[in-house]
């Protein structure tokens, strides 16, 4: 079982780190499926273990991304941390692994929490208390037939340990840890973890706001400046007849 690392707290407040833009789950997973297939195709010279390891890693990441998509739609993350809100990605028992054995989700949760408690100390009320959020076979991340790899994905969420409210079931700063594990063929096992931060803004460039009158949305999110005020602006031009911004 992986242990929580001392860097975790730093990650949660890390700014400018890799920014993985969330997207529509099925779109993303469709592309992931293609990537899986492509990877499988192009890495035929690699060892079987490496292949399955990569597939399992992709699956872990896919599970994490899927969970982020669900988290976007959650109006309140405290419900997630309290375990009352979970992802729609959840299968029914017996939670079978590729080798036919059954995953004990409660045991996995206990093990993850044990590692965390060991790192932070049980007395630390701000430590993450992991809640099982999503779980299921890799193949369920995509429509039937679009993913070939066998495996099983489990995702937990926990409160930001940088928060000092003393309540791991209450989200006070719009930040969560998302911990995803995938179990693949040949006993492969991959773990990824991410910090997810709720943006304080409404998505100006998304959805129905791509229209006239979007300025009214500034009450919720002042748009970032065009380049750097005080410096020069860069001008580009495009002909409607021929296209091509230059």
């Amino acid at each position: 079982m992986p242990s929580m690392t001392p860097r975790m707290h730093a990650w949660s407040s890390e700014r400018g780190a890799s920014l993985v833009i969330a997207l529509l789950a099925v779109m993303m997973l469709t592309a992931l499926g293609a990537a899986l297939v492509l990877t499988t195709t192009t890495e035929t010279m690699l060892t079987y273990n490496f292949q399955t390891g990569q597939q399992t890693l992709y699956a872990a990441d896919a599970g994490l991304e899927r969970s982020v998509q669900d988290l976007i739609r959650e109006p309140n993350w405290s419900g997630v941390l309290a375990g009352t809100r979970t992802s729609g990605f959840a299968d029914d028992p017996p939670h079978l692994l590729p080798d036919g054995t059954s995953v004990d989700l409660a045991a996995l949760t206990t093990a993850l929490q044990s590692d965390t408690d060991m790192f932070y100390g049980v007395a630390n009320l701000n430590r993450p208390v992991w809640q099982l959020y999503a779980h299921g076979p890799m193949s369920s991340l995509l429509p039937a037939g679009q993913i070939l790899a066998q495996g099983y994905v489990v995702v937990w969420v926990g409160d930001d340990p940088g928060e000092s409210d003393g309540n791991p079931a209450l989200d006070g700063n719009g930040t969560l840890l998302v911990h995803a594990e995938a179990f693949g063929e040949g006993g492969s096992h991959k773990v990824v973890e991410a910090s997810a931060v709720r943006t304080a803004t409404t998505s100006l460039e998304s959805g129905y706001v791509a229209q006239r009158g979007q300025d009214e949305q500034n009450r919720r999110a002042r748009k970032e400046a065009v380049q750097t005020p005080g410096a020069d602006l860069t001008e580009l031009v495009m002909s409607l007849k021929t296209g091509g911004i230059s």
């Binding site: 998304s206 229209q211 500034n218 065009v226 230059s246």
Partner: protein, 1065 residues
């Protein structure tokens, strides 16, 4: 009724090809009642096409009088030249069945026996004769012609006064007169005829006696020529020599286009019948064939007239004043080959300039053998060919010609269509995974992943530009790829996103049969707008058609039209629901629509709200508002440039709202100058059912082939309050009827694009907030309206039902009489920092008042408090455009606005308009503080007339304004666009350097002048900001400001960011 196919519209190169079914028409021309009152809307959104008109209209404003003095000798500049060249050979006095319409008025008393024999009423005083199937008589006898019979119409008959209407000449006259009347402010019309042989004079009654009648019982009648059996007289303008042998004698040009009030004179001449002095006289030496129709010679004369007009023009205007010929004929003919002659029209030189003078051929029931020649005339000159069988079709063709000469002269000379951007470009997100460009080539890196395999989303990846093309007034909605990914190992995602601009599509319709066009009829519901019997019978009365056949014909015509012009409608591009979830239910709502295809909605001046697939550009759905059904018929005779008929000319607003506890995506749209209604449609499931990356147009279009996909929700006023039978001069296509409520009568033309939001807190209702717009006082005084003032009321409407939560009438302020007041600008809703709830909304009126409406909610009902006049820009500074609003903490709002509008009539302008910055702290009874005000003073600097272009836009701590400067004294000088960038307190926002410089002349806050960043040739659209880039249109170009290699930066792109990611094992 016959249907005529516009057979083979022939153009040079890129002129749009328009193949449409032109329906025939009922008894009258719609144009006679077409001058709806909104031509005097206080705004003319097509004014930018009318540069010559600006010059003519100079002088009524105080400032204008000082700066712009009409040029001596230039009166009247008016606009391009349109030479109406009419075939006046004898065949023009025939109808499509070969019947000749005798020119004489026959007194019954002159020969009662003959009158009785012909069936003239005993009560009649006079009668007219039609010689049916009149042809040359080749029997070798004394007869020149033979006819089946004489059909009489006496003065006791209802159609006596319309006797000549079926003739080619009357069809031509009627259609042309309409177009002259509808465009007399924007074009200089001249009138000429074909050459006559000797002796072409208005004939005396029965001046010829060459006819015999062939069909019983008239073949046995004695006849009327003394001493000759069975010979009948005919009134005809026979010439003693052939028309085609005649030389030009200077009389062919009846009315010069360059004389004062030429269009009015032409109009008057066209109203005269062929038997009236001064009217167009059909004359010649041969009957119904092309042997004596000097069409080639008519073109020679028309070219000479074009040369004269160009040479006589002022140097100032000659450079850009276009000239076209509308050639109205009954066929080909002439000793001179007309097609060869037409080739010389491609380059006509005079006065040191060379221009193309396209010929628009209108062939009225031409012989089939002549069609190829007539088409060649159009092709060789760069014009277009039309066939017509009635005046409506003639008007359509002539309106098309008027549209063509409003293309910039450079484009017209090259045979290119004109493209005009009218509303701001927008950016949205479309699934372009594995998509292709407009040429079918695959887009590079359209689907990319991180090294870890995670898909990288490309948001705000499509630019939409919108406007229209001429001739035709067709929509010009184009999509471009905003940026493309480029591998870059230094970037966290492994890519950077650089400028692109690849053309993706130009919006288009599917096959006519596949179009999903719907309307809504009260009591019936959503109804397919098709020629199916059930639809036709239901719609016939609303379409103002007398029979089902006519209704079906009109429906067919409308379905055949290309996408209609976008003039005042900024599209909205929607993708799957993606708000930060306001509540638990939204997550479910959004997850169910995660694969909803992106759609662009816009309002068109073809009578419809359109939905265009974001990936493929094909129209998937359209909706015709109920109150616009009666007006559709006006489209059959084409769109005039001057008296343009507006339809759905407003911008859609789309919002996710909760209706009766259920989340929905709703679309709200008004009609601008096109009408007085707002409409609400449920688009929650629009775009479902087909994969977002599908490239099957058929599948995408088929997914909308069900009226339930986008159900109509409500209108305000209610459709049931609309009386389609009202037909007055002021409201020829219906108006509010007796059942309309008091509040419904307060709605003016729906220019104001609404704002939408939830009021105050989670318990508050979702409402649509809007004003409306101008409505002529004469309409207010009409019928059931009973003088109720319209346009000055602000409304809070329930998004689910359209019911009025509350309203407030700001009224007319005493002493402010420069404009009729209206809350015409787009309201801007706001609230406190970080809150999505609306507690205030700002809206400006045309008297220069900026109003703040504080809004509260209780018990599910929203209420308006007494509004505060946040600012008064004075009546010379009307507020037409929407505001830019920024909350900077608590309730404090920065407000940016521009006074005036570039579409205001020149005579309405009295001062230099302003860019204004305000700060409002939301205190009740307290006005805002003015942060800055700047004159738009390029008028002084470049002798131009600078005006704002719609609304400003804000990004970061900077507000951007665009303006357009016109040059009324110099119509040939291109409009110039300017961009300004200011900080909130009015200082210059960007530094000096290459590629755009701003300087403020060293003046500090509060001064009166500021320099633009830079200028470009062309009219500017409003700015739009997305993804840290500023976009606006100029002419047929898009201007973009921002880092060329920093797109898709994720700013505000989602509700959750992953700020760290690490593989642990």
């Amino acid at each position: 009724m016959n249907r005529k196919v516009l057979s083979g519209l022939v153009f040079v190169s890129a002129f749009s090809i328009v193949l449409g079914v032109l329906g025939s028409h009922p008894d009258i021309l719609y144009g006679k009642g077409k001058k709806e009152p909104w031509f005097s809307e206080q705004l003319d959104q097509l004014r930018f096409l009318k540069r010559f008109q600006d010059a003519r209209d100079l002088g009524t404003g105080k400032r204008a009088k000082k700066k712009f003095v009409p040029i001596a000798g230039a009166d009247p500049p008016v606009g391009p030249n349109v030479i109406l060249a009419v075939d006046t050979s004898l065949r023009m006095q025939f109808d499509e069945n070969g019947h000749y319409y005798d020119l004489g008025v026959w007194p019954r008393a002159d020969d009662p026996t003959v009158a009785d024999d012909l069936g003239v009423s005993a009560l009649a005083t006079n009668y007219r004769r039609r010689y049916d199937a009149l042809i040359d008589d080749d029997s070798g006898g004394s007869f020149k012609v033979q006819a089946d019979r004489i059909t009489v119409v006496d003065d006791q008959a209802a159609d006596y006064a319309d006797f000549f209407d079926p003739t080619r000449l009357s069809i031509a006259r009627e259609g042309l007169a309409q177009v002259v009347d509808e465009n007399d402010n924007v074009a200089r019309f001249g009138l000429m005829r074909s050459r006559y042989g000797n002796g072409a004079v208005l004939p005396a009654v029965g001046n010829n006696n060459p006819a015999r009648l062939m069909t019983p019982p008239q073949d046995d009648l004695q006849g009327e020529v003394s001493g000759e059996s069975k010979k009948w007289k005919v009134t005809v303008a026979f010439t003693t020599t052939d028309n085609i042998a005649a030389s030009a004698d200077g009389t062919e040009v009846l009315i010069d286009a360059d004389v004062l009030n030429s269009s009015a004179t032409v109009y008057a001449a066209l109203l005269l019948g062929p038997d009236e002095v001064g009217g167009l006289l059909p004359a010649g030496n041969a009957y119904d064939d092309s042997t004596d129709s000097p069409i080639g010679e008519l073109l020679v004369d028309a070219r000479a007239e074009a040369v004269r007009l160009m040479g006589a023009d002022l140097d100032l205007y000659r450079e850009c004043r276009n000239t076209a010929v509308v050639l109205v004929v009954g066929g080909a003919g002439g000793a001179v080959d007309p097609a060869i002659t037409a080739s010389s029209f491609a380059a006509v030189s005079a006065g040191s300039v060379t221009h193309r003078v396209p010929i628009f051929v209108v062939a009225i029931n031409p012989p089939a053998a002549d069609v190829a020649t007539l088409q060649a005339i159009a092709t060789n000159s760069g014009g277009a060919y039309f066939e017509a069988s009635n005046a409506v079709e003639v008007a359509y063709a002539a309106n098309y010609a008027v549209q063509a000469v409003h293309v910039n002269s450079e484009d017209l000379d090259l045979g290119l269509p004109g493209i005009f951007q009218t509303t701001s470009p927008i950016l949205g997100t479309v699934d372009l995974s594995n998509a292709s460009d407009i040429d079918g080539l695959p887009l590079l890196n359209s689907a990319i992943t991180t090294s870890g395999g995670a898909v990288i989303t490309q948001r705000a990846n499509v630019i939409l530009t919108s406007g229209f093309s001429l001739p035709g007034f067709h929509a010009d909605l184009r999509a471009f790829r905003a940026y493309r990914p480029k591998l870059d190992a230094t970037k966290a995602l492994g890519y950077r996103f650089i400028q692109d601009g690849t053309r993706l599509w130009v919006a288009h319709t599917p096959a006519v049969a596949e179009r999903n066009i719907y309307t809504y009829v009260p009591g019936t519901g959503m109804l397919p707008f098709t020629t199916a019997a059930s639809s036709v019978s239901t719609l016939r009365d609303y379409l103002r058609m007398g029979t089902d056949a006519e209704a079906a014909e009109l429906i067919g015509f409308i379905r055949n039209q290309p996408l209609g012009a976008i003039i005042g409608s900024t599209p909205a591009l929607i993708d799957p629901p993606s708000l930060v979830a306001p509540d638990d239910d939204y997550a479910t709502f959004a997850s169910q629509r995660v694969n909803r295809r992106s759609l662009a909605f816009y309002g068109g001046n073809d009578g419809m709200v359109h939905a265009i697939d974001g990936r493929l550009g094909v129209e998937v759905w359209a909706f015709i508002p109920f109150n616009l059904l009666p007006k559709l018929r006006t489209l059959q005779d084409g769109q005039p440039v001057d008296d343009f008929a507006y339809f759905v000319d407003s911008s859609p607003k789309v919002a996710d709202v909760k209706v009766a506890g259920v989340w929905r995506t709703m679309l709200f749209i008004g009609e601008g100058a096109g009408g007085t209604f707002y409409h609400a449609l449920d688009i929650s499931d629009a775009g479902m059912g087909v994969a977002p990356d599908s490239d099957s147009e058929a599948a995408v279009v088929a997914a909308f082939n069900d009226a339930s996909v986008i159900p109509f929700q409500w209108s305000f006023p209610s459709y049931s309050s609309f009386d389609h039978t009202i037909e007055t001069t002021l409201t020829p296509f219906g108006d509010l009827g007796a059942s309309a409520t008091q509040i419904e009568k307060t709605v003016g033309h729906t220019w104001s694009d609404p704002a939408v939001g939830q009021i105050e807190d989670v318990t508050g209702p979702y409402v649509m907030m809007t004003g409306s717009g101008f409505l002529d006082e004469t309409i207010e005084a009409q019928g059931a309206r009973a003088g109720v003032r319209a346009g000055t009321t602000f409304y809070l409407l329930d998004v689910g039902t359209g019911s009025v939560h509350d309203s407030y009438d700001v009224g007319d302020e005493a002493g402010k009489g420069h404009f009729k007041n209206a809350l015409q600008s787009d309201p801007t809703a706001t609230g406190e920092t970080g809150s999505r709830f609306v507690t205030q909304v700002f809206s400006g009126d045309t008297e220069g008042n900026l109003w703040r409406f504080n809004i509260t909610a209780a018990g599910g009902t929203a209420s308006l408090q007494v509004p505060v006049k946040s600012h008064d820009t004075q009546q010379q500074h009307p507020l037409f455009a929407s505001l830019a609003l920024v909350n900077v903490g608590g309730p404090v709002q920065y407000i940016f606005l521009a006074t005036g509008m570039d579409s205001m009539e020149p005579s309405m302008k009295m001062v230099m308009f302003h860019m204004v910055g305000l700060k409002d702290d939301a205190s009740q009874d307290k006005s805002s503080v003015r942060e800055f005000v700047y004159d738009m003073d390029r008028q002084t600097a470049v002798n131009g007339d600078e005006r704002p272009t719609s609304a400003p836009a804000v990004a970061g701590d900077v507000v951007f304004y665009t303006t357009t400067t016109e040059f009324p004294n110099d119509p040939c000088r291109c409009h110039e666009s300017s961009l300004y960038a200011l900080t909130y307190d009015g200082n210059v926002a960007y530094g000096a350097g290459t590629g755009g410089v701003a300087s403020n002349k060293g003046k500090a806050k509060g001064k009166q002048s500021i320099e633009e960043i830079t200028t470009w040739d062309g009219r500017a659209t409003a700015p739009f900001i997305a993804d840290q880039h500023l976009y606006f249109g100029v002419g047929d170009e898009l201007r973009v400001f921002g880092d060329a290699e920093d797109f898709n930066n994720g700013v505000s792109a989602q509700g959750v960011r992953v700020t760290s990611w690490r593989e642990i094992r």
